[in-house]
Symmetry: C2
Subunit: 248 residues, 2 copies
Amino acid sequence: MSGGGRQGRGPRKPQPQPHGDVIYGRNPVQEALRAGRRHVHEVFATQAAAGEGSFSNPRIVTADVLEAMTGSGAHQGVAARVDPYPYVAADELLAVDDPLIVALDEVQDPQNLGAIARTAEAAGAAGLVIPERRSAEVTAAAAKASAGAVEHLPIARVRNLADFLDEGKRAGNWVYGADQEAETPYEQADWQGGLVLVLGAEGKGLRPRVRSHCDLLVSLPLHGRIGSLNVSAAAAVLLYMAVLRRGG
Amino acid sequence: MSGGGRQGRGPRKPQPQPHGDVIYGRNPVQEALRAGRRHVHEVFATQAAAGEGSFSNPRIVTADVLEAMTGSGAHQGVAARVDPYPYVAADELLAVDDPLIVALDEVQDPQNLGAIARTAEAAGAAGLVIPERRSAEVTAAAAKASAGAVEHLPIARVRNLADFLDEGKRAGNWVYGADQEAETPYEQADWQGGLVLVLGAEGKGLRPRVRSHCDLLVSLPLHGRIGSLNVSAAAAVLLYMAVLRRGG
């Protein structure tokens, strides 16, 4: 459950940061400060971004320095040096009463991971579970795509996703997998009670072993010529059906 | 309604293309060929991508040439020189019986435009309407983000979005705006019949003039700490509620 990987990418010439990861973007930095789940060592901002007054006493740097620090042009004039992302233990998610948990089977695009985290947080999900290998991690890019939601939403990394699904079942939850070939339309499923919703990778769907560990596979209707929804769009539709049926 | 803008960006050194736009990515090129709504002048592929056999007689080029042609590293070994994007007239969308139409109010991120087009196509929407100014256009990046759905989904550009909403009403449609401050929960709205669903820009929402032209404003529940959904996630939830309530 530890680790977390270095999140700052690219060259880091001008302003050395001896330790820690780097996140960037107004919302990600603001939510890291607001959530308080990982220490924010120092906030960096351009003169212009600092003038907007959202951050107290940021270190003023040029946009070039921010781009070098973050390895991205999407920093919006703000970055922060932070502790590694605080993954939680999967047990913590299963300890919640009747949790709604999202599990991602080898989703490798940090934009999709971030987008799904944002929607899951908005839907009041207990948390998100990702495998340790062949999955996007909670990098600075994922934090940015989540608008900072990853700072609030508990996210766990597990060695083996199928094993986690079994643990989830033993803890009294249903495990539903999203599969466009499934016979059960999503709106006919029972969305109440403890639930782990499993979504597969872009273009590949669920791995057979993960699929076989689901209690139920549900599908979304497709009325167009393109054969699938993006995984983050499918997540949004399914999570909000869960919210609706759970009385939310 | 004409125009369309040049879609190939960045330097175009090695292989000159005298006319036309450039799209890239396996799905976008495949769907452009399949839909047949704009002429595909020539397909370019790396040796490896050509070997997968999805395209007949592509011109073999190196990945470097593709990157220079497309101005992107996301080409997946495939690009094509095509006619400009074939926007339709907004009237065509309103001529459909009881259409479900999505209108975007100054959504400026081509990723969001593409993602929403993909979901709208899957939901069986009649089409998408965007303003001519201060809006993302159907660029190669938007086509890629849509997985090629923009080749099938009719998309219209209008000079004035509020005027289009009035035309929509005169043609017998309801106009619903998504607004997180709205009192009507989205699931309590009537989603049947002709409907124009209006979504606002990231972070800004609907402009006051556009909001005032809506018959009804609907909101999505938010159970987290982040104050909004991404516009493409909101679009997915609302479009699939429409599909569900329209009997799809």
